[in-house]
């Protein structure tokens, strides 16, 4: 019989942590289940109205302060514990380790397109090396989609017009299902992909065989675009600020804004700054950059971002 995707054990450290939270809640739930259902059935049986004692009067009990306090305090403490445990693990789920390799995913009705950082791309199948963290940077070109890796117990919605992300560090080689979990129309249930985890040697061989010499990687195309659109007139790559801030080492750095807020320069920030430059202006600069909305296509923006990441 075909195994269920979620039966895969030991696929990643995070999946194991999620299973622990699940188990923790199962234990608490089972205790309460037997406690409440047991009392319910026991009372219903024990105090059933028997023939002959219909007229018997019942005790006039309207409450019990101690009991009522206990069953507020104890469940409160337990749900707080569940919340805290869930939160701790959620941080693991959301925080990709530094140095994770990015793979861009563009979802559309009804397929996933994977784009590797070296220019390769594939439909509905993504290959990743064993034991290395991989971050999927997700966006959609039409409606909402989902990105669910049941074996790894994680999922993330894919939203048009913004990037969301999801990371895994597979510890087990094999082929794993990817499901669309956000309803997206007629083909929703057939929108499935595979993540193939290969050990390092296999993966290298595969990469070598796949790479087409004439295909420029996205960052290279991005470099061309940046030159063509004159970005470098204002933004340097040498670490010196000109009209705009320098690109050097910008990706992943903390940036202070003119309104006093601060953020980490990531894909979403780059995208926003290209499309809507005045939304967030870096401290010390004037909001003079023109928008590239309508000029640059989604693909081109992704390529520029790929290049930006290489400017170190």
């Amino acid at each position: 019989m075909t195994p269920y995707p979620s039966d895969a054990v030991g696929v990643s450290r995070v999946a194991g942590r999620i299973d622990s939270v699940f188990l923790f809640i199962v234990v608490i739930a089972l205790i309460f289940f037997f406690l409440t259902q047991g009392t319910l059935i026991w009372f219903a049986w024990r105090y059933r109205r028997r023939k002959g004692n219909e007229g018997e009067s019942t005790p006039y009990i309207t409450g019990n302060r101690l009991l009522e306090t206990l069953w507020v305090v104890i469940p409160s403490a337990l749900v707080l514990a569940i919340f805290a445990y869930g939160w701790i693990v959620f941080r693991d789920i959301r925080t990709a380790p530094a140095g994770a390799a990015d793979i861009n995913v563009v979802a559309r009705q009804w397929l996933y397109e994977f784009r590797y950082s070296d220019g390769r791309s594939s439909i509905n199948e993504v290959r990743v090396p064993l034991g290395k963290p991989v971050r999927f940077v997700l966006t959609s070109s039409d409606v909402l989609h989902g990105f669910y890796l049941p074996a790894f117990r994680i999922k993330q919605d894919i939203v048009p017009g913004r990037y969301t992300d999801l990371w895994v560090q597979p510890e087990k080689a094999g082929s794993f299902d990817i499901y669309c979990t956000q309803y997206c129309g007629t083909g929703h249930s057939t929108m499935r992909a595979k993540m193939i985890v290969m050990d390092a040697a296999d993966y290298r061989r595969w990469v070598a065989g796949e790479r087409k010499p004439d295909l420029a990687p996205p960052w290279m195309k991005g470099k061309g675009l940046v030159e063509r659109y004159g970005c470098l007139g204002c933004h340097g790559v040498d670490g010196v600020d000109r009209i705009g801030p320098t690109f050097k080492g910008l990706y992943g750095r903390k940036v202070e804004m003119s309104d006093g807020s601060a953020l980490i320069a990531d894909e979403s920030y780059f995208r926003e700054s290209i499309l809507d430059p005045t939304a967030k202006v870096v401290k010390g600069f004037d909001p003079v950059m023109p928008t590239y909305k309508g000029t640059l296509k989604e693909d081109e923006i992704a390529e520029i971002i790929a290049w930006l990441k290489t400017v170190k």
Partner: protein, 538 residues
């Protein structure tokens, strides 16, 4: 419990005496309006159930089945939308609430009878528009998430308008109930003497009045999006698809309490009556209804943990979500404690009430799996969620509704139900329900996403089990409907107070006279004084 009560005889046709279409369609009598709501919502319960059976049938095979994927999507959309908007939201408030709130507070009618009738007609108009919109297959899911709903070829604009009208009716009903409870209570009916069903309905009405306008606005914006391309939810125009989800759940989460709180109110009435014991922790139950209603407004974000919302917001919403668990637990503990040392009899209303508690506990205990961030990421949008909300909504609300129908059937119709048929139906429903929906917890844990027409073959066995369970469930519903129909014509005549209950609606004839009470009763005691020196030991 009350002085000045008369006419508890049990003969005559009471408010049902007048016949003819006009006597119903233009009646200002809250009881008749309640009955009209009851028939309407029950019709959609059966239609929604039919779609459930159809989609379960499709799911017996993993590949393309007897219908196309597109048709399957229509099935689950209609099952969800009809059940939610035309059955479960109005089922208890508009039908049973309308019939019993004025009777239980000791009034002749609601505060605004004309508004009440207008509410029913708006509801009906909304239904007509909704049905008209279905000429083109509706395939958006009941959640209407943008951008899909803004692009779908279905008649979403028309449907939005229909649901806007349904929502308006819901607002008017809730508004009417709040004012009725404030101003129409009989002399001596203080807030602390109000039956718990009234407390539940009060909390419900507050949610209806404050949350429904937001979904109304959401539907207006969705329609504007389709008609004019206003772009609020369209990223290409600078809009935000997540804004729709925030608006949608700001209504649709509180509204699950519109569904469950009245059912909890019914259970709080039935348990003491059939245990011959005062309700345990009256104040705790009453206040927890209000607490749930208020907390319910703060937790909508837990539907969006993996939507792309910020992690900080997710953490806050998760914490707030758990605050709903405690008052809900309190109610369950109180009901069970009420049984302690009672003298419990198992007529059909009690049977359904106990089924409610049993199933609702399972629904409640599976909530923390979804409220907890760590496990939510795994289980969101899988069958685990489907199972969880069916345990709370069908195992909870529908069982509470059925308990209420069996409890009040004699009062509404003047006839008793057949206990034998009611028991058979209850057994079938209990077995069928658990077989269908417990299986879905496992399916969801194993990774089966919801709203899938086709699925990998390893899930098939469990889908077949769930489908077979749904047949048993359907058989139970059929037996129950047969019982209602048969008893309406051939049931024994009901006495005024067949269960020996102490709330006011039982202290008048079955069916009640047009004016409910010949003389407005004066209330001297709370309605759960069972067990005290023979009081209520009738």
């Amino acid at each position: 419990m009350a002085d000045g009560i008369s006419g508890a005889s049990g003969t005559g046709r009471g408010y049902l005496a007048e016949t003819g279409l006009r006597s119903w369609a233009f009646s200002l009598d809250h009881k008749r309006i309640g009955v009209m709501y009851l028939y309407t919502t029950m019709f959609f319960f059966l239609v929604g159930g039919l779609f459930a059976e159809l989609l379960r049938l499709k799911l017996m095979t993993p590949g393309p089945g007897f219908v196309s994927d597109k048709t399957y999507n229509v099935f689950f959309t209609l099952h969800g939308a009809l059940m939610i908007f035309l059955f479960i939201i109005p089922a208890i408030p508009s039908a049973l609430g309308n019939f019993f709130i004025p009777m239980m507070v000791g009034a002749h009618d609601v505060a605004f009878p004309r508004l009440n009738l207008a509410g029913y007609w708006i509801f009906l108009a909304g239904i007509v528009v909704v049905i008209a919109s279905l000429v083109r297959p509706m395939d958006t899911g009941w959640t209407f998430y943008t951008p899909y709903s803004a692009k779908s070829g279905a008649a979403v604009t028309l449907l939005s308008f229909g649901l806007f009208l349904v929502g308006m009716s819901s607002i008017l009903t809730g508004l009417n109930f709040i004012i009725t409870i404030h101003t129409q209570r009989a002399p001596g009916m203080t807030w602390s003497r109000m039956p718990l069903f009234i407390w539940g309905m009060y909390a419900t009405s507050v949610i209806q009045v404050l949350a429904t306008p937001v979904i109304g606005m959401t539907f207006i914006l969705l329609a504007a999006e389709r008609l004019f391309g206003v772009g609020f939810f369209d990223p290409a125009k600078g809009g935000d698809p997540l804004l729709f989800q925030h608006f949608f759940w700001f209504y649709s989460h509180p509204v699950v309490y519109v569904m469950i709180l009245p059912a909890m109110g019914i259970i709080s009435e039935i348990i003491p009556v059939f245990s011959r014991k005062p309700i345990f922790g009256y104040k705790a139950i009453a206040y927890s209804s209000m607490a749930i209603a208020l907390a319910g407004f703060l937790v909508w974000g837990h539907h969006m943990f993996v939507s792309g919302m910020s992690s900080v917001a997710a953490v806050i919403f998760s914490l707030l979500t758990f605050s709903v668990a405690v008052p809900t637990g309190v109610k369950v503990f109180n009901w069970i404690a009420t049984l302690y040392r009672g003298s419990i009899s198992f007529e059909s209303p009690m049977l359904y009430a106990l089924m409610f508690i049993f199933l609702f506990i399972i629904g409640g205990l599976t909530g923390p799996f979804l409220g907890s961030l760590g496990t939510n990421v795994q289980l969101h949008d899988t069958y685990f969620v489907v199972a969880h909300f069916h345990y709370t909504m069908m195992g909870g609300t529908v069982m509470g509704w059925l308990a209420g129908l069996h409890y009040w059937f004699p009062k509404m119709t003047g006839r008793m139900l057949s206990e034998k048929l009611a028991r058979r139906a209850a057994v079938l429903i209990l077995i069928g329900f658990n077989v269908t929906f417990f299986t879905m917890f496992i399916l969801g844990y194993k990774g089966m996403p919801r709203r899938w027409a086709e699925y990998p073959v390893q899930y098939q066995t469990m889908h077949i089990i769930a489908t077979v369970g749904s047949w048993v469930l359907a058989a139970g519903i059929i037996v129950m409907v047969w019982n209602f129909t048969r008893s309406l014509y051939r049931g024994e005549a009901a006495p005024g107070n067949p269960w020996g209950a102490l709330t006011l609606e039982w202290q008048t004839a079955s069916p009640p006279p047009v004016e409910n009470f010949e003389v407005i009763p004066t209330v001297t005691e709370w309605p759960y004084s069972f067990g005290r020196k023979g009081a209520g030991d009738a």
